[in-house]
Symmetry: C4
Subunit: 335 residues, 4 copies
């Protein structure tokens, strides 16, 4: 509110404002995937092969950095089970310590003698309380140990509820079990050439309504000489299939309208070109949407190669898809 100024232009500038709106219109037609135009100095890839994004973040808040739920869902199974075990032993250790503080003699034991020390007695009592097993051969006898046990059994129920929720969430999480070819190719296609990559459904019978979106990101030069990152949506010969039982070769034909028309490998490398891939499908088991992302950089293109078919029709009259042939290519004369 500091600089109050009428933003209505003076009426003697109609020509300028015709020009204005043209500039605005140009800007509106610019395609931007959300990375902005200024990422032009890094020469690092925007999207990693696994679909994550290459941005460093400063001053992120603690819980945002930790991102606990997301991390627990996406970490590997070994890490997850390891953390559960650590959590279980640490919490039991802490409660064992608490029972010792209250006094180990307040845990009445029906076991003859005490074959293990009082820490372990408290530890085992704690584990039996936390998991609600409660054999009762060790039991709290005074007020303090009883109230601690009452709290621990509640905390145990809630903690295991979270852990088991996470366990099932991990197990049931809808994922796009697809594999992209490691390389893309520049192949002959009909009587032009085309840029192609291939994707295969790793699992049978699960993905339907599959959709693919491909963009080319590269550095271009403005008339005034400054370089900026520009994005081009690439038209695919086919970007949607209803079924995805086998493999799918995505084809971008290099016609006159393609931003790749007349491009040399050297030009692609020089402009830091990167092909960004967005994959969307519907997982049929629970009708949930799944996504996948990946990218091909200029140095992941094989020029003058084509993909070798993955079908092997010799097997007992039934068509067989060999998943190991996904990355197989062969030289092919470009048009």
């Amino acid at each position: 509110m500091e600089q109050k100024k009428n933003i209505r232009p003076s009426s003697d500038e109609p020509a300028l404002h015709g020009a204005n709106s043209r500039l605005v219109q140009q800007e509106e037609q610019r395609q931007d995937l959300g990375f902005g135009t200024k990422l032009n100095d890094a020469y690092s890839r925007l999207v990693n092969k696994n679909g994550s994004v290459n941005i460093n973040r400063v001053n992120e808040r603690f819980w945002d950095r930790i991102n606990l739920y997301n991390r627990l869902i996406t970490m590997s199974w070994w890490h997850f089970l390891g953390w559960v075990l650590v959590f279980y032993f640490v919490v039991n250790g802490v409660f064992a310590g608490t029972y010792l503080l209250v006094g180990a003699e307040n845990l009445q034991s029906s076991v003859n003698g005490e074959p293990y020390g009082s820490f372990w007695k408290a530890f085992f009592f704690s584990s039996q309380t936390m998991t609600t097993v409660g054999y009762g051969h060790i039991a709290p006898v005074n007020f303090l140990s009883s109230i601690v046990a009452a709290m621990e059994s509640m905390i145990g129920l809630l903690s295991f509820a979270l852990v088991t929720g996470l366990l099932y969430g991990r197990f049931s999480r809808p994922l796009a079990h697809v594999r992209f070819s490691k390389q893309s190719v520049f192949s002959p296609y009909l009587d032009v050439n085309a840029w192609m990559f291939r994707v295969v459904n790793n699992r049978a019978n699960q993905l339907i309504d599959v959709e693919m979106e491909v963009s080319l990101s590269r550095l271009e030069t403005k008339p005034d000489g400054t370089r900026y990152r520009r994005y081009h949506g690439l038209k695919l010969e086919r970007n949607k299939v209803a079924f995805f039982p086998t493999n799918w070769t995505l084809v971008h034909p290099i016609t006159e309208t393609s931003p790749l028309y007349g491009c040399t490998p050297e030009e692609l490398a020089e402009s830091d070109a990167e092909f960004l891939i967005l994959f969307r499908a519907m997982d049929d088991t629970f009708s949930q949407q799944v996504h996948s992302r990946t990218s091909y950089r200029y140095d992941e293109i094989q020029w003058g190669y084509k993909f070798v078919p993955m079908f092997d029709s010799a097997q007992h009259g039934m068509v067989a898809l060999d998943l190991d042939k996904l990355d197989d290519t062969a030289p092919a004369e470009l048009n």
Copy 2:
């Protein structure tokens, strides 16, 4: 990068490139459901009656082949409960063996005498630990048996969490409880003919926003004589309804624009014709999308038959839908 070649065409070929783009455009207009054009030698159906797809897969990875979650969710209830029982007994057996290794005498028993052998004592102790019942009339008394029991109760909680998650997942899974007619028919329709099939909602009051997509897949011959599989979307008289309380007869009128116009039964058989059906709806209980798929082959068409109405209006003045009449047809003179 091996074969560096400028893909910009020499400038003296403008005519060719006009032709090029026409070929590309043709290819773009080709409809493909995701099966590709090469499945022309098998003469087996693409989509089975239950909606699964007929593709053999080679070199699938272990976890992809197992597809554990999907399998546990989609197997029959008897199989699922059988596996749960097997799992329960095997895990308890393994833990019983572990307690025997540690020494059966370390499971203190308050039972007078031991009416069953020490294996069964260990087994029952294991089951009481795993389910967290923990009566305590059998209890671990030394360090090793206590630590094994602590682990087992945790593992038991996590395992049962998975099983109960699966149980509820199976129970609450949104399914399209619809039944397609076994046969489709070629019937007279207004003053043309039409290909029709019928679908019924097995359960009352659940599906809304129902949508149907039908494609014809058949072998056709290119000008050069090679045969390839081609796909045609079939225009339906109505492909969407907001409510689905009763039955629904899907009608594809055979007008001049239909790929079936003028087709004979023999031609359909010869071209290995298959009608692929995609069904989408919204389950109203939890507002979840449900899908169903099926197909009709050329030998599942009744020529010159029509569907008999499923409504029986005689019942107490209220309209009654007889679900058993779904497959009933009667001869009808074609136009």
Copy 3:
């Protein structure tokens, strides 16, 4: 395949087939919500006030009729809790009987004397096993009672898993907490008239992206004199709002293009007119879609009435919405 007939029309009927396609086109433009055109004899409403549909079903399969999951989710809380209690007591009763069969003396009791009969001892032991409480003051001592207890604790865990899943499913089920006005009105609107109804969001701050679809269903007469049910989509002055914090009056203006143009109350009654309402929105808490349906019949229209505003602006300078005024109408002179 019985009646093989070439469906290609003889080539001397081109004029007829032009006519053909016109009939087909007419049929395609017919709007049908999924009830079909033949429900014209019943004179009962298609959609009940609570959104359910009036169709009687014959020969429904057992599990389809039961529709267990849907029923358990949608029954009232009192019914649900009642069934849980019944289930709990019946299953415990059955297991108590089993323990008696095995022999009540095999349930060792540390209780001095037996203050209740052996059935209740078995019953309480069963409940302690099924809920996995397992005090242990009653415990199984022979093989058979132990194995039955091992099975019961497993069955108990799985049953309670289902029940608790259902409990939380019911609790977290996304519902459109909206209330429709009991009556609709024919009111003056600008300088025409309009058919209006009103809906209110019962709860604050939850529904966004709200959408309404209204159809008129009525009996009409074909040129040949047969009566059939026809559906008209009704154009609303506004059928979508991004926020739904208050009430919303839905307005269908009666202009020349409206199927209600020039209609009298008698005509509406005679044609068994029914206005079908579909409501869709997004519940903001978990971003889930919710639906609601209702209908107004010809006898639920107040002619020459208008809705009274629900806002009461006198309260402390803040706008107050009085939810009890939803059904309030006042006479208004029609244009």
Copy 4:
């Protein structure tokens, strides 16, 4: 049905009805976000900064006012855990009272002496029953205490099921972890000016398919001098991005077609202008939609300021996004 009147206009008024439909069309083109046109006396904001809506509600039903599930899901963690603790102690207290009523002597205790009073014995027994720990060193010995315990263990299982469902529901709830800039700005943009605000993704790698919708709500004057609230959708230079790894500056260029064209700060204040923001995205972890809402009022606009870039490219050659710079602005000469 009281005022039966033919709504068909008399046929000598065709001109009027041409006028009629023009009024109706105007009304249809009016944009309304769901707040209506009458909220013009309050001069309070429609949408609060946190996205909630400013409406007072009268005569709300009890369960609608409580809105239990929604409240338990959206309250702070401290409140939630506090309520769980209160619930746990109150329920145990109530059951302890019940056991005392039945007779504390019916809870047999194997503890030597009773180091705490009989209330606490009953309380601890209750907590051991409710959590199904069931040590058994306190156990029910008569019929009444046993049946109460059987009920409590069932109620305990169901209650903890709800609590743990809520716990995991809270934990796994998909939220738009985004932060909007506190102020919006009027900045120079190309060769016009623009209204801008900025939003940042607080967490890395989670939101895709991000969409923004902006509306201007302000009081305007009808030709007859009455004031009413009007809504204008604001055209954004870009309202959709596929990736959202960093920050995003939303730009509404003030061209001739903008409702803000030629507006002064005083006019905005006088017309109670408010910019309403709707944010939609897809959370990638579980492919769930997330929403966010906010608004900027006329007094949250900085005139003649621009946003300072949030990127800091100096860090080790990798682009770094400084989340603390979200609100940083600098003066800029308007065009």
